[in-house]
Structure formats: C-alpha cells, structure tokens
Amino acid sequence: MTLREIKDILNAEVLCGEHLLERKAETAFACDLISEMLALANSNTLIVTSLINPHVIHTAEIMDAVGVIFVGGKKLSEDIIKNLDHGNIPVLSTPFLMFNTCGLLFSKGIKGCIRGKRFE
C-alpha cells in the first residue's frame, strides 16, 4: 500500500516529504521508545508513534523506515519540519489515536513486524 493511500485511510496531514508518498509499506511498527524501534522493527516499515521529537525522525532514517505517522493530531514545530524537509523520511500526522490508527491500518492489510526478522 502506498503512503498516499495510507494518508487517505488515516485522514492524515503531510508534515513533510510530500514527494515521497508513492513509497510502499507492507508492515508498521507502533511504539514510543527509540531503542525498541531500532531493535525490533524491520526495514521498510512505517513507524506509528505518539512520541513527537526530531529524534524519532533521525531514528526512522537510520532504520530505513518508509515513513513516520504521528497519532492524535500531534505535529512537530515548523522550525523542525523546515530542517527535515530535505530529508528522506515523509512525516504524516493523523487525528486518530494510537489504537484506532493501528486498527485501521491492520484492517486494510498492513501487518506488524516480527521480532528478529532483521536477523533471519
């Protein structure tokens, strides 16, 4: 599923990386802990989080994530967004809270990450 389709499903606003919305995601990882994202999520995964800071975006970049979705309508400040806009990670904000965001994605066929898959 493309990020553009995910954007529509989640009624999301694109905070940055509009040009990257044709990227595809098959799995998602919902988490508010940086180390867990690094340890457990596969590459090419969509990060769903309510942790709103620039470190999340750095983390997404390092772990080869497809993109980041902030839940609960949360957004980064304009200054931070401006610095990220040259980056490689599209960032979306959905008004849905965590459970509903994950439920909607799952019902449309997005799967969860499997622990350890990175090392198989």
Binding site: L33, N53, H55
Partner: protein
C-alpha cells in the same frame, strides 16, 4: 579513557570520528546519519549499513545520557568495520546487568524523550558480530563492536581465530 583494544592498525583503513558531549541529544542522531551516508557511499550492503548506524546511534546515546564526554570512531578496514566508543564518565559497575534488556539507569527526562529503555547495549550486541566492553567505575567505558563484511571472517570471530 584510552583504548587498549586491538583495532588491526596494520591494515589500510579509513576512520570517521565523532566527538560526543553530555546532554547533546541531537549529535547522537547526526553522528549515526553521517555514518550511514558515508558507508552507503562505500557501497556496503543496506543491512550492514543499518546495523552499523544503529550501533553508532546507541553508543552515542549512551555517552550523551551517562558520560561526561566521549568519542566514537568508525574504523573501516577492508574486511571489517569496528565501532569504537570511548568515554570519560561514571563507568558501568556491572556490565552483565547493563546488557540485560530492560535494565536502565537513565533519568526520567531522558525517558520522556523516548530514550533510556534499557535496550541500548543488547541492541548493539545484536547488530555486531563481536562486542567487547571494558569499564572502570569513576573513570569511563570503552566499547568495541566488530562487524565483519564477509561470512568467512564472521566464522573466524565466532571461533576466536581472528585474535590468535
């Protein structure tokens, strides 16, 4: 704290260096991003680049959270990459305990930023072919993570043949 690790200094190598200061959270992410870009330019596999970037990120975060200051070196030799993290700080009293997933001494304000979940060192271990940690309480910690670039070397590290 200076390192006494064997880093294969006889071989031709390329080294990236990052100075890390206490409480400079952004520098940790930037160091990892820069490492990733540099390694991508060398044409290494995506999975190896990702693992090394994770090691650098976690090691840098450990310095930012727990030490006074430190330095991370990424030493690239033809057959392996070594991430060497050296810091001046409190040191780790019980390395085995610190390696345990979920064990953390990070302060609350650090946890609120999403860090300090107690997975840093175990995460580094998972991403490395070999990991050595030496620490002196009240002085500092050095960490050496080795990542082999081909399967034959990996076997050598597992059997210890590389250091015979």
């Amino acid at each position: 704290m200076s390192s006494d690790f064997n880093t294969n200094l006889n071989k031709p190598q390329l080294t990236l260096r990052f100075k890390i200061d206490e409480k400079d959270f952004l520098i940790a992410g930037e160091s990892a991003s820069k490492t990733k870009k540099a390694l991508q330019q060398l044409g290494l596999k995506q999975e190896i680049v990702k693992n090394i970037a994770i090691i650098v990120y976690e090691a840098a975060m450990n310095i930012v959270i727990h030490a006074i200051h430190g330095e991370i070196k990424i030493i690239i030799v033809p057959d392996q990459i070594i991430v060497l993290s050296e810091d001046v700080g409190e040191g780790i009293p019980d390395i085995e305990l610190a390696m345990k997933e979920g064990y953390s001494t990070a302060p609350q304000e650090v946890r609120e930023m999403g860090f300090g979940a107690g997975m840093g060192l175990s995460n580094i271990k998972q991403c490395s072919d070999e990991l050595e940690i030496k620490s002196t309480v009240g002085s500092g910690t050095t960490l050496k993570a080795t990542i082999c670039l081909n399967p034959i070397d990996k076997k050598q590290v597992e059997t210890g043949a590389m250091y015979l």
